[in-house]
């Protein structure tokens, strides 16, 4: 497989703070590669270096076989493009936003019109050309940013948490567009994410970044399915529980996290296990709900964090859980710190670390 980008012992420091330490990495042509790691692990810095907008403190970067330096950094910028986590748009129409990069590449008006029509269809925003980009909803804005990047047909597409701040409907549109583009155009993609599920479903290979270093590189199966101390240290931030597991007759297991908390998981493993539940897999309600889900807990909200379209709630239900719900649900349910809530999740939402 041909290597499109290669990094040899690269480090990046901002003053005394080291953002990346001795990173060695190869990105292959046509692959979807994800940089998985918690906030502050160096994902964005690495993406910015790949995009040619950040210089290295030490080490070497190669693009398409050539060493990247001041003399050819503009070529790298023309062959790559990046979609930022915080949507950045020019204060103009959707059309002009997408046309910007195409004009820099010398495309004709006819080609630009055609391309814009195509990419807006890919992100399901047909007919949005004349709309003011900044007046669109958050999810639509991120789709415009993605369309603008897709229009350029670059060799490499860099995405920084492309779905972190958008609601579920927009997430699926963005993920579908990314899968389609990789399949159709064989575009190499590097996605920075802290969403393990996204890393698993969208990508061919994953690099686990911890504290500015690459802790592990491998296929999603190798990283996410196998036992990994590194992954546990990353995932420990949210809903990670350890306990003694017993296999039930039905085929599932019950994990005794402590004297009071038991979690039922759709896995067959006895003995000491560590599991995690994704915050978005937990259903939150104000009353108990009858459902097929095997796990239910009653608790009180202890902390509310607003992430734009989604809200993360820290709930004390004997053990502490982090639950992610949409802003709309949050507002409609009139939740506050101290509100009593019920948490429900399926046994199949419990994953082994």
């Amino acid at each position: 497989m041909k290597t499109i980008m290669e990094f040899e012992n690269i480090s990046k420091a901002y003053g005394d703070v080291a953002a990346l330490k001795q990173v060695n990495l190869q990105i292959f042509e046509g692959e979807v590669f994800s940089l998985l790691g918690p906030n502050g692990s160096g994902k964005t810095t690495l993406l910015r270096i790949m995009a040619g907008i950040e210089t290295l403190t030490s080490g070497e970067m190669h693009f398409d076989g050539a060493k990247v330096d001041e003399s050819n950094i503009n070529d790298v910028r023309l062959k790559t493009t990046m979609v930022f986590q915080k949507t950045a748009l020019f204060s103009t129409s959707v059309y002009k936003n997408i046309a910007y990069g195409l004009r820099l590449r010398g495309h004709s008006k006819k080609e630009i019109d055609q391309k814009i029509k195509e990419v807006l269809k890919t992100v399901k925003l047909e007919g949005y050309e004349k709309r003011s980009a900044k007046k669109l909803s958050g999810g639509e804005q991120q789709r415009v940013a993605l369309a603008r990047a897709l229009a350029l047909d670059t060799q490499v597409l860099l995405l920084d948490e492309p779905t972190a701040n958008v609601d579920p409907k927009n997430v699926s549109i963005i993920e579908d567009a990314l899968s389609w583009v990789n399949k159709e155009n064989k575009t190499t993609m590097v996605i920075a994410t802290h969403n393990m599920f996204q890393a698993e479903t969208l990508t061919n290979r994953i690099a686990l970044l911890l504290g500015g270093r690459i802790a592990q590189i491998g296929t999603p199966q190798e990283i996410l399915r196998g036992p990994s101390i590194n992954l546990a240290s990353f995932a420990r931030l949210e809903n990670v529980f350890s306990g003694n597991s017993k296999i039930l007759q039905e085929g599932t297991s019950v994990i005794e996290v402590d004297d009071e908390v038991e979690i039922e998981a759709a896995l067959r493993k006895a003995g000491k296990v560590t599991v995690f539940v994704r915050p978005e897999d937990i259903i939150l309600s104000k009353k108990t709900i009858a459902s097929s889900a095997r796990n239910g807990f009653k608790g009180k909200i202890v902390e509310i964090s607003d992430f734009g379209p989604v809200v993360k709630l820290r709930v004390n239900a004997r053990k502490e859980f982090v639950v992610q719900i949409t802003k709309r649900s949050f507002v409609e349910m009139q939740l506050n710190v101290g509100s009593t809530v019920f948490l429900t999740f399926k046994a199949s939402s419990v994953h082994l670390v």
């Binding site: 915080k86 020019f90 910007y100 820099l104």
Partner: protein, 235 residues
């Protein structure tokens, strides 16, 4: 006395309106000269102010803070003091005296341009600094070179730049001290709205002074309203 003054004002106002609506040639000539002098001054100040503001807004260099501080401090420069310095600079005794700039529209343009440069530089710098810092990176990730990315930032701050230049024009056209000292208020040559208002008021020609003041206010308000309307329409 009080009653008399009130009468005088009303009388002056009526005569002023008659002067305006009759298309008085002196009035027209002074107004046009004012607009030409001040718009030339704005263009001249933009010529050097825009590159300075772009540098201050986009680049981080040693001493940047001091340069910014200098222009901010110059916002409050007493116009008479600046007028005096320029008077000496343009006078026959100075090294450039042979250019015979004193008491010419050129001297007034240069004087106003220097006076409004701090306004243009400070406001344009703020406008550029208020643009999302990610815009420059965004332009680069879309393939822009360093210069093209800087142009993208300037385009984003265009509303602020236009407002800064509008404020500069309003300051220039309403200015008296510098134009009086380096222009001399020569009728038919260097007299502008402000200098004529001052002169006519001293002479007791209240009607003409009021007419000129109304025109000055109209020019300033019309420009500000037009700029606001265009910007509102664009966003």
């Amino acid at each position: 006395m009080h009653f008399g003054l009130g009468n005088e004002i009303i009388d002056g106002l009526i005569k002023a309106l008659q002067l305006i609506f009759s298309g008085n040639p002196t009035l027209a000539e002074i107004s046009i000269r004012s607009i030409l002098v001040s718009s030339s001054a704005v263009m001249l100040s933009a010529l050097w102010g825009l590159p300075i503001a772009t540098l201050l807004g986009l680049k981080r260099f040693p001493g940047r803070f001091l340069v910014k501080g200098f222009f901010n401090a110059m916002l409050g420069i007493p116009t008479v003091a600046l007028g005096l310095i320029l008077y000496l600079f343009f006078s026959n005794a100075s090294p450039i005296g042979f250019l015979r700039l004193l008491y010419s529209p050129t001297a007034m343009i240069i004087g106003q341009a220097i006076l409004i440069t701090p306004i243009a530089v400070s406001f344009i710098t703020s406008a550029i600094e208020s643009v999302d810092p990610e815009i420059k990176d965004l332009a680069k990730t879309l393939g822009a070179s360093e210069t093209e990315a800087s142009i993208a930032v300037l385009k984003e701050s265009m509303n602020g730049i236009v407002l800064a230049l509008t404020a500069s024009f309003n300051r220039a056209i309403a200015e008296l001290g510098v134009v009086l000292m380096v222009g001399g208020n020569i009728a038919g040559f260097t007299s502008v709205l402000t200098t004529t208002i001052a002169l006519e008021t001293n002479k007791g020609e209240i009607a003409l002074a009021i007419a000129l003041a109304i025109i000055l206010l109209l020019i300033v308000s019309a420009l500000t309203i037009t700029v606001n309307l265009i910007q509102r329409h664009k966003t």
